[in-house]
């Protein structure tokens, strides 16, 4: 049975095409002013990539901030559930999923059945979020995708203290102006963000095994630091972690069918 999962995030939209456990294709694009057209384009893209026709798709499921804007008969689920489902399904003994999204960090506690027990999200401050990281690595003159490699070159790392995005940015700039190397600053940046994520994750003390989803989880320089800070076992998400919610949506759809 072929299922289409969509995550209409605030900053990025993602689509996945699942045939049972086989991920046929996926697509990610920045969410524009018009969510619908954006979603349509990634949907047709995944279909094209996999050579599947709309008719072949049995179920459509959508989640994410912009989901209510999407017309058509879609099954809607909230992102907490979807992320949990993805984590629970692909990593059978994971107890917590930490999702680092565009502007928030959510840690979701799941039980042995894979049901959500509890979750926490920071809705006030975006520090530590994907956008935070993006802006700051940008300020240091390094695109976020090159972050990991850049950090490797660090020699004497600095400490980023400000938790406000814009202030942290001026901290980064002053470091640059003091002649500090971008690598050293980015090291400090990753360490700071890892610290914020770790603090969030520590709020569920009992947990032994966890995974991280969301675009930021692609950055090894970060996940490895989080791993070092937490006295818990980190299980890597088997697919592109940015697709977590979309995959979850598809999985839930399969359940509800």
């Amino acid at each position: 049975m072929i299922v289409l999962g969509i995550d209409a995030g605030n900053l990025f939209s993602k689509a996945v095409l699942l045939d049972e456990d086989c991920l046929l294709s996926s697509s990610i694009s920045e969410t524009t002013g018009n969510v619908c057209s954006c979603v349509d384009s990634i949907v047709s893209e995944v279909l094209e990539k996999s050579g599947v026709t709309r008719e072949d798709v049995k179920l459509f499921a959508v989640t994410g901030g912009g989901s209510e804007l999407i017309e058509g008969l879609y099954l809607r689920e909230d992102d907490v559930l979807c992320i949990a489902a993805a984590g629970a399904y692909y990593l059978p003994d994971v107890e917590m999923v930490v999702d680092i999204g565009g502007q928030s960090i959510t840690s979701i506690l799941i039980d042995e059945d894979g049901d959500v027990v509890d979750f926490m999200r920071n809705d006030k401050c975006a520090s530590g979020s994907g956008r935070f990281l993006e802006i700051l690595s940008g300020a240091a003159g390094i695109p976020i995708k090159d972050l990991s490699n850049a950090v490797e070159l660090a020699e004497n790392p600095v400490k980023i203290r400000s938790q406000c995005g814009v202030f942290a940015e001026s901290e980064v700039i002053s470091y640059l102006n003091e002649g500090k190397k971008p690598a050293d600053i980015l090291w400090g940046l990753c360490d700071a963000v890892a610290g914020i994520v770790a603090a969030q994750a520590r709020r569920f003390p009992g947990v032994k095994k966890y995974t991280i989803t969301g675009g930021v989880a692609r950055i090894d320089a970060l996940t490895s630091r989080i791993e070092n800070k937490l006295e818990k076992e980190y299980l890597k998400f088997p697919h592109d972690p940015m697709l977590g919610a979309a995959l979850g949506a598809a999985l839930i759809a399969r359940l509800e069918s």
Partner: protein, 477 residues
């Protein structure tokens, strides 16, 4: 105010009073058309709040509450005009002591702030900015900052004295009162609550309380006779009975008491307790709730969650918070400010009455919990008790940035609630009085996600994602 910045004409108090003066002229029964007409003249923000209060199922209770408030505001002005003493008090101080005097009247800063946020254009944030403009930090208590900003930044109505009763239970509240007294050169009377639950502590508090009474008698220039005390205490006791009655009504499933009544209840408690207006208003709240109980009335198809709010609610959008939740079947059993623990005052003698009032004061919200010996444990015990009494199945922490006390121990509360009573706690980070901190839409999403995944899910039974998914996988494989 400092160079170049002109004092605004008419501040929060003046504006709110003029707004509420209208209420008196309204008939007891209001038709939907009349409501439309009434709210037509209001600025958008005020309109949405007043409309939220005047929807049919809430109309009777809301009108009673608004009448109570308008008379509170009116009497404050009259006291000032007739040369009496208006005294600013914090919400955690029982205003009945001031009501007992003929020549004095209490104005509660948090109630005023809330009115500003509810009923003024721009949700009173202008006044908050005025407070910041003085250089006050952006993390001061918004519950006070809105009112304080108006007092510092405009030629608003000013009290003649201040009772600083949060000394001991809240730093920022006491400091805000201190700078207000300093800025306007008005006397401040401190009532300290020792963070000490032992008999020594209680004894010390009784001493502090009777010292306050003496200071007030001197300031107001009036003796607090036994008759005056008795007159007031009897009204307090009557209101306390009604409060207890309303509390019991909350126990019914589904809860017949509308969410907004939680706010009304302490709205009355913090402003007019010890007066006839309070009794009248409480009577209506109780009657409406009883009627709803008989009819089995509930705003949603089913009661999905019985939420106990552990501290405050969000006041900047009544429709978006109180009504929005109950229409989805999320009941407010009340919040931390409803944890009043009424004390029946023994009216036999002056001393017995003063002791009773002191004990009542000791038991006020905030004073009792974070003013206790251990912030986390005193708070936790009250929440556990209330949760059990009212059969809560989840708890929501929402407060404001400046509540350093609850914020510093909310992690303990969360763990212990889960451990001792299996009650999950959602921690919201918005600010009760400022929409700018976290927009109501974000708050609503949090609540939906929480109740949808953590609370309602439990009742519906597990999804067992792991087992079922893998089985389907195997089946299809």
């Amino acid at each position: 105010m400092e160079a170049g910045i002109v004092l605004e004409k008419g501040g929060l108090f003046d504006r709110v009073s003029r707004l509420f003066a209208v209420i008196d002229s309204l008939p007891d029964e209001l038709s939907d058309e009349e409501v439309k007409g009434l709210t037509f003249v209001l600025p958008p923000d005020a309109r949405s709040s007043i409309e939220a209060m005047l929807i049919p199922r809430l109309r009777e209770g809301s009108l009673a509450f608004m009448r109570m408030l308008s008379s509170w505001l009116k009497k404050a002005q009259e006291t000032a005009e007739s040369g009496g003493k208006t005294i600013l008090v914090p919400f955690c101080f029982p205003p009945e002591l001031v009501h007992a005097f003929d020549g004095a009247f209490p104005v509660t800063s948090e109630v005023l702030s809330t009115l500003g946020v509810v009923a003024l254009e721009g949700r009173g944030e202008r006044y908050y900015d005025m407070a910041l403009g003085l250089g006050l930090p952006d993390y001061i208590c918004s519950a006070n900052a809105v009112e304080v900003g108006s007092m510092l930044g405009s030629d608003d109505f000013k009290p003649q004295g201040i009772i600083s009763a949060a000394a001991g239970s809240c730093n920022i509240n006491a400091k805000t009162h201190e700078i207000l007294a300093f800025y306007h050169r008005i006397p401040m009377f401190v009532l300290e609550k020792p963070v000490d639950n032992s008999e020594r502590g209680k004894e010390q508090y009784r001493k502090n309380y009777s010292r306050l009474v003496g200071e007030l008698e001197e300031f107001i220039g009036e003796e607090l006779t036994e008759e005056k005390l008795r007159r007031t205490c009897e009204k307090v006791n009557r209101a306390n009975e009604l409060l207890a009655e309303l509390w019991d009504l909350h126990k019914a499933i589904p809860d017949p008491v509308p969410n907004l009544f939680s706010l009304f209840t302490y709205g009355v408690r913090f402003s007019m307790w010890g007066t006839d207006e309070a009794i009248e208003c409480m009577n209506v709240l109780v009657d409406v709730s009883k009627r709803r109980l008989k009819e089995g009335a509930y705003p949603a198809r089913e009661e999905l969650a019985r939420c106990l709010l552990t501290y405050t609610s969000y006041y900047f959008d009544l429709a978006g918070m109180f009504n929005w939740t109950e229409e989805r079947g999320y009941t407010y059993l009340g919040d931390g400010l409803d944890l009043i623990f009424p004390v029946m005052i023994d009216t036999s003698s002056r001393d017995s009455m003063l002791d009773g009032m002191a004990e009542q004061s000791w038991n006020m919200p905030m004073t009792r919990q974070v003013g206790g010996e251990s912030m986390s444990m005193c708070w936790l015990e009250d929440i556990l008790w209330a949760a059990k009494e009212l059969k809560a199945d989840c708890a929501i922490y929402s407060g404001h940035h400046s509540c350093k006390q609850t914020w510093s121990v909310v992690s303990i509360l969360r763990k212990e609630l889960m451990k001792r009573a299996e009650i999950p706690l959602l921690v919201l980070q918005g600010d009760s009085w400022l929409s700018r901190t976290t927009p109501i839409t974000a708050v609503q999403k949090e609540i939906l996600d929480f109740i949808g995944n953590v609370v309602a899910q439990k009742k519906k039974g597990k999804r067992k994602i792991r087992k079922r998914l893998s089985s389907t996988a195997e089946f299809n494989a």
